[in-house]
Amino acid sequence: MIPELVVSDVTVRFAGLVALDSVSFTVRPGSTHALIGPNGAGKSTCFNVLSGVYRATSGSVRFGDAELTASRPHQVAALGVARTFQNIALLPRLTVRDNLMLGRHRLTRSGFVSAGLRLPSAGREAARHGARVEEIAAFVGIAEVLPTPVGLLPYGTQKRVELARALCMEPRLLLLDEPVAGMNSEERREMADLIVSVRESLGISILLVEHDMGMVMRIADSVTVLDFGRRIADGVPDEIQRDPEVIRAYLGDIEESAS
């Protein structure tokens, strides 16, 4: 059962700067929702609030019955919220397999004592979750690089490893921060296809921050547009594309630039 994510009136202030100004939107269960806006609009701040990294100054974020603004990052993760990072946050010296095993952290139990004493329970757990990691790696198309240290992989593949690591958490809500940034058009198309197939085969909700408008319009069910920390539009992609305020935010005011 996938709950709704309801963001209501979230405000974030850093000293004098208002990074988010009473932003509200709702991610319907099983939908792909895009969060777009020019640089500095507050998209990443919003992600950091949703994943418990930043504290909101006011407002609330509800995921089912849980209030995310009062939770620490690992408590948000325990609710089944997974995220990727704009700048890859993998451990470059570890293998892909080890990086993915970190995604299983919240689903596994072995602690210092059982790992240190190599109790059979820890071994069984590692084997069971290792098998699931292999399945997910195959799904994302990185099965053949499982034994390779992440740092040796090309950028596009590292982005896929990040997505796979988030999927290893068996999430109910997936937050993707610019999943195709810095990729070439071939890699972008593959990643977009992958995101669509994640949604279709797992049925989870996806919230996406992305600058690639073509991709957003193609795969998103609904779109929220931020500018200078405020929500300036919210709706289905077709409406958003025609919204005069959105066009002004991206391209500037026509009269202003004429004068």
């Binding site: 990294v53 990052p73 690992h74 993760a77 946050a89 993998l90 790992a115 240190g116």
Partner: protein, 362 residues
Amino acid sequence: MSRRSRWITLGAVWGAVVVAAVVAPFYLEGFWLQTGLFAMSAAVGAIGINLLTGATGQLSLGHAFFLAVGAYAYVYLSTDVGLPTPLAAVVAVLLAGAAGGAFSPIAGRLKGAYLGIATLALIFGGQHVLFNAEPLTGGYNGRPVPPMELFGFVFADTPDLVLLNVPFGALERLWFLGLLVLAAAAAFARGVLRGRPGLAMNTIRDHEIAAGVMGVPVARYRAGVFVLSSMYGGLAGVLVALVFQRAVPDYFGFLLSLDYLAMIVIGGLGSVAGAVIGAVFVSLLPQLLTRYSDSLPLVAEPGSGGVSPAEAARILYGAAVVTVVLFLPGGLLGLATRLRRVIPRIKELRWPNSATAPASRR
């Protein structure tokens, strides 16, 4: 190299190490046995601080404090409380862990160098107590350490014991105890590092935010690793007290904490083998210089006015730390790994078909 031949090489190397360690007390004189035992106890302590500093990225300058807790708790519990010595040793290690636990509200919240500064307080507080709580610690002169007695077997010079014509005194007997303790401590730490906790610790070190987002309770983990590292410190303290046969406060000062940091930097951060290699290097160096001071240039007899062996050793491993930081990011262990990777490649020039071994984790 094929998988099989690699296993055979590995087995041969380990076999040689084990044989050498077992026969050592039959050939080495007391001086070298004592040096070896200091190295073993240092290795146990270094493994502990490498879990904290190397693997989790939390600096600690207070490691010597936990060694002191272990050493003095062992003395107090066995002499004053009258616990059987093995039990006293176990409780001493647990007490060191409890001391770490008492500090864990701070250890969980502060990160990296900030924790290092906070742990300085442990050293100065600890030194004050060691010098002044005389009934407990014996003050400046410290206290004698009762020998360990396991199932009726005493780790001391009396009663006499001769094995294969070699008189087995305290050092010879402790040698085997030290080996067992070190092997167990190393195996446990390796299990931790290779298992679920190790991954979480490495992620906290390299990317704290990612660790939290992936579901790792960062503060709780930092506190947990701090407690574990304190217990390793306590165990090293018990061992060093048994070898030294006297617990003196001077030994457990700030310089000892710095020695431990030097060990893990020189040996290799974040791994068990690195900690052991660094501990051996840092413990052996001053002893070697003391032993051969008369035949070495610039090193004088202690007290004769020149550079004493202990000072010379500090200068030398200060230089070793700088060298490692500049040229050997993986420490001596990293150097060994690099050599191991280069040697097959040289062979490959002759047999182009053999594949190089993939990099191993940690």
